[in-house]
């Protein structure tokens, strides 16, 4: 192995150094990590997943199953990076994986001794006895021994970007077919996006020595790319992998912006997620060369033939000193020619075909290469390859010394993307591989991806398909400039198995699945290809079976006696190649994981020491701690007492608010609410209960009537969007003949509860011109006013049970209002209170809230059965009458008081009769809400208890085995403060 003295597309004027497993080595700009390792003679790059076998580099592309390294160190360390696609940069650091203590001496390779026990599906048959050992012994050991690379465990320090692109044509792959297509389409004025995972354009033109217009293919590719870059209507995405196809002609892609740089500039995104919507797409992803299945085919020194050609031609790196080519197709002969051209000794060509005819044969024979036809390599020998055992056409064995075996088993079109929407590919006998059958809408495969392997066909496909697409879009494509290339033959005779071999023959290299595993699975009855995959794990590694799937299927077909086209094939799923989760998250991480909604008084609340809680997307003030307060309970108790004795203010802007207008608004509301709405007088407010169609309670709130045809509806915070959707459903789907309009005004109004015996005095201070006497604004009424030039509404409603109001102004003045309210109440000891105190007070009053409106309760369960109107039809009426929903044994709302003075009940605890065994059969209900009531000086709770209303006074057990333990409690009416409700009405 060494660097060739000349040739290659590396920049010999730009030398670099890098470290692999602590060893510093030289490379050049233009190298990949793999090519630099090859040039430095590094043959051993990793250990396999299960058996810890020493592994070398198998390929030169993103299909690489073996050469997985951890790139970089520290927080940016990325495990399972394919060395074959990692662009080398100065100072690159990489370490091998899955070995301990070192790559050369891996003690875990002892697994190989246990190989017979570790065959396919072993974990279904072992580690099962004794049962207790699983958690304590087996699992920890397996965890330590299994797995590929390890994460750093540190937060990802990089920033990720996202963008959207829209185009007439997406070209996936910038090889000859893709470039020809993009040129044709770009020149015709189409909006084109072309993406390639490599940093250089050209695809296979970078790997072989074929000519276009009598010049090296990569020169044509560079000129094509330069022209495309100059067109304003073409977007060129380099280092970009299209990883998924989705509905609606949408494609996902990841652009790697800085992974090839030694340091990421500050604030520069590391990678960018592209969502691309393309009217048409051309799959120009080429084909992947298949390895062959023979003994020792995973040894370091065994490489696919096209990879050998790539290392020689593109990177001027020779993967060995003495080579043998083992091939079943013409392309192996191209590699033989490349080896001779590069001056690497070629000992033999072993072609499994009986009488292959190849134009290169005279030159190769003249170079003194032994040519064996109708022969196979049965075994590769050596911890690192040192010889191969060949079985010739007469069955005789001979050994040939070599340190490089170039293997060519034919080509499989890279069509994974085309099956992402669920269409399985079909078998093509001509090329002995699978091709696309039902591509995603708008997609066509071209060139090698369509099974048309010659360079001339790739160029012609690209130009003609792009011209067809252009004319479909009403543009004319100018005739393509000449692209002459040789239409080389690509005959292949498939050889799925070499026959007898002595050592292990691998099918899936990354998951260590052998040919005997496939036979074992079939023998145990796992004869469907989907079962084969899951039982053996073939195709389930990070490479998704790119080099293994077809070989595995062929062996399965042989084992089950079916022809391959009937054995079926598995689907590929997005992502086509691994994608960092960080790039999918993009901007949405940490505090920006999802947007936060802030109320109009948010800044004021921060100034006043609020602690915040999430209510859906909203940040709500939970309590306002004062210096010296011991804990939140002390704060909340103070707030509750302040409201019940004086006056408190709470921001309730987050509740849903909806304007319902129109001649038929009252009719619609009558059909939506269980209780009567159309009888509501102008200037009045009513509690409203909404049921789902199945009769269970959906939401509650208030309805205010501002005029004959104008209603104002409120909902709970969390159901605001759901109720809006429900109202739209009723208006548009159920009763489109009604003339009613509705829109959300949740954001329009800043609303504050002003509550407590002194609330009227405070509001009178705030609005001296407004008559707020009980006669002018009675309980459940609303008045409108002008305040600082804007509309103000004052609703007299009470959630806490005291004399209370809700004051609203447009949110623009919300901050101004809350400050004005506090000024107006300065002499009254006005106190800010948050959601916690709000919650305590509503439990004290027994008002149902989210915990009770849990989607499983009926109006009757909550003691609201009397609200259900008998005079009209409404959503939920019929199904609420089902026997199961009117069963008197249903758990119904009650209050609970712990018997012991200091005892505490917690929500979620279940209810048992005294003396009953804690068993499901004795379960009589559960606690929905609980709080410490400073008003009563004890804990209280609301609960749903079977036949609850008939059991007031009875003692039951509140059963809480997971938390604090059981508490004895007395059942009582679900209202603890001011049962007559007089305080709110005064």
């Amino acid at each position: 192995m060494s660097r060739l003295a000349q040739g290659g597309l590396i920049d010999r004027n730009a030398p670099l150094t890098f470290r692999f497993d602590g060893r510093t080595m030289p490379g050049f700009a233009g190298d990949t990590l793999a090519s630099a390792l090859v040039a430095n003679g590094v043959g051993l790059v990793g250990r396999s997943f299960k058996y810890h076998r020493p592994r070398g580099i198998l390929t030169a592309g993103s299909e690489e199953p073996n050469a997985l390294v951890t790139l970089r160190a520290g927080a940016k360390a990325e495990p399972n990076t394919r060395a074959t696609t990692a662009q080398l940069f100065d100072g690159l650091e990489a370490t091998s994986q899955n070995r301990w203590p070192s790559l050369n001496l891996d003690l875990l390779s002892v697994n190989q001794l246990a190989a017979p026990l570790l065959a396919a599906g072993f974990y279904y048959k072992t580690f099962m006895w004794p049962a207790a050992f699983w958690e304590r012994v087996y699992e920890p050991i397996i965890r330590r021994a299994a797995g590929l690379g390890a994460l750093s465990g540190l937060p990802d320090p990089d920033v990720y970007d996202r963008d959207h692109a829209f185009c007439d044509l997406l070209v996936i792959g910038a090889g000859p077919a893709g470039l020809a297509a993009a040129l044709t389409a770009g020149r015709a004025g189409l909006r084109v996006v072309i993406a390639d995972e490599d940093w250089l354009p050209g695809g296979r033109l970078l790997s072989d020595r074929r000519l276009i217009n009598e010049a090296p293919g990569h020169i044509w590719a560079k000129a094509a790319a330069d022209e495309l870059a100059s067109l304003a209507n073409v977007r060129w995405l380099t280092r970009t992998s299209v990883f998924g196809v989705y509905d609606g002609r949408e494609y996902g892609a990841v652009e790697r912006l800085t992974d090839h740089l030694p340091n990421t500039p500050a604030r520069q995104p590391r990678q960018r997620l592209w969502k691309i919507v393309a009217k048409h797409a051309l799959l120009a992803t080429g084909a992947i060369e298949r390895p062959l299945v023979f003994g020792g085919n995973d040894r370091p020194g065994v490489m696919t033939a096209s990879a050998v050609s790539t290392y020689l031609n593109r990177f001027a790196a020779a993967p060995g000193r003495r080579a043998v080519v083992f091939t079943t197709s013409d392309s192996g002969w191209d590699t033989a020619d490349d080896l001779i051209e590069a001056g690497v000794e070629l000992a033999a060509i072993v072609d499994a075909r009986d009488a292959p005819m190849n134009a290169r044969e005279p030159r190769i024979r003249a170079a003194g290469v032994r040519i064996l036809t109708g022969a196979v390599v049965a075994d590769a020998q050596g911890r690192q390859l040192k010889s191969v055992d060949v079985r010739d056409r007469d069955g005789r064995s001979l050994s040939i010394a070599c340190d490089l075996l170039a293997v060519s088993g034919g080509w499989s079109p890279t069509i994974g993307l085309a099956s992402h929407l669920g269409a399985r590919p079909v078998w093509s006998e001509t090329i002995a591989s699978f091709v696309i059958h039902q591509p995603p809408p708008g997609m066509t495969a071209i060139g090698a991806a369509a099974g048309r392997f010659s360079l001339a066909k790739a160029l012609a496909d690209g130009a003609s398909e792009a011209a067809r697409i252009a004319s479909e879009l009403g543009r004319t494509a100018t005739p393509a400039s000449p692209m002459h290339a040789y239409d080389e033959p690509v005959a292949v005779r498939p050889l799925w198995h070499v026959g007898a071999h002595k050592t292990k023959a691998f099918v899936d290299f990354q998951n260590d699945v052998t040919d005997t595993d496939v036979a074992l699975a079939a023998g145990e009855g796992f004869t469907s290809v989907e079962h084969l995959k899951r039982y053996t794990t073939l195709g389930m590694a990070t490479d998704q079976g790119k080099t293994s799937q077809l070989n595995g299927l062929a062996l399965l077909a042989k084992a089950t006696g079916k022809p391959i086209d009937q054995a079926g094939t598995i689907l590929a799923r997005p992502p086509h190649a691994p994608v960092a989760i960080g790039v999918l998250a993009g901007h949405h991480r940490d505090e920006h994981f999802r947007p936060a909604r802030r109320t109009p008084s948010h800044d004021w609340a921060v100034e006043n020491g609020a602690s915040f809680v999430d209510a859906g997307q909203w940040k709500r003030a939970q309590w306002f701690a004062r210096p010296g307060e011991r804990d939140w309970l002390e704060t909340v108790n103070r707030e509750v007492n302040a409201v019940r004795a004086g006056v408190g203010v709470c921001d309730v802007s987050t509740l849903g608010k909806i304007d319902v207008h129109g001649p038929d608004a009252a009719t619609l509301l009558d059909r939506l609410y269980a209780n009567q709405i159309s009888t509501l007088a102008v200037g009045k407010v009513r509690y409203g209960l909404m049921l789902r169609e199945d009769g269970l309670v959906m939401d509650d709130g208030t309805v205010s009537r501002l005029s004959e045809t104008r209603f104002f509806v409120t909902t709970t915070t969390v159901n605001a969007a759901k109720v809006m959707q429900h109202i739209d459903f009723a208006r548009q789907v159920l009763w489109p003949a009604l003339d009613v309009q509705a829109c959300s005004v949740t954001e329009q109004w800043a609303t504050f509860a002003v509550a407590g015996p002194k609330s009227r005095v405070l509001l009178q201070n705030l609005t001296p011109d407004l008559d707020l006497t009980n006669e002018a604004l009675p309980f459940m009424g609303v008045v409108q006013h002008r305040w600082r030039g804007v509309r103000m509404r004052i609703f007299r409603v009470s959630f806490c049970g005291e004399l209370a109001y809700e004051v609203s102004v447009p949110a623009t003045l919300g901050d101004g209002l809350v400050r004005a309210v506090f000024e107006a109440g300065a002499d009254l000891g006005v106190t800010a209170y948050g959601t916690e105190a709000l919650g305590v007070m509503r439990v004290e009053k027994g008002h149902p809230a989210g915990a009770e409106l849990n989607g499983q309760t009926t109006a009757g369960d909550l003691g609201l059965g009397g609200l259900l109107s008998r005079k009209k039809d409404y959503i939920g009426r019929v199904l609420a009458g089902r026997p199961g929903l009117t069963d008197p044994d249903r758990p119904t709302l009650v209050g609970l008081r712990p018997v012991a003075q200091g005892a505490r009940i917690r929500a979620g605890a279940h209810l048992l009769p005294l003396g009953a065994q804690p068993a499901a059969a004795n379960d009589q209900g559960y606690v929905t809400s609980a709080a410490y009531s400073p008003t009563l000086g004890r804990g209280i709770a609301l609960a749903l208890l079977q036949r609850g209303p008939a059991r007031h006074g009875e003692r039951i057990i509140v059963h809480d085995p997971v938390r604090a333990g059981d508490v004895e409690a007395e059942v009582c009416a679900p209202v603890f403060v001011d049962p007559q409700g007089g305080r709110a009405r005064g």
């Binding site: 739209d728 459903f729 789907v733 199904l879």
Partner: protein
């Protein structure tokens, strides 16, 4: 009532269903979709659909 509440046809093929454009125009649509391929064949404002159409 049992059929209406608990039983649904599970079609393999064209299905008419309701969609709500929550992040856009807030309109309900009647969409005809092939459940096997997700291809959309028709989309119409629900409020314009004939009153006699079966409601899902």
């Amino acid at each position: 009532m049992f059929d209406y509440v608990y039983l649904r046809d599970n079609l393999a093929g064209l299905m008419r269903e309701h969609w709500y454009h929550a992040q856009g125009c807030r309109n309900w649509l009647v969409v005809t979709r092939d459940t096997r391929t997700h291809e959309i064949f028709d989309a119409a404002l629900a409020k314009n659909a004939a009153a006699s159409e079966p409601k899902l």
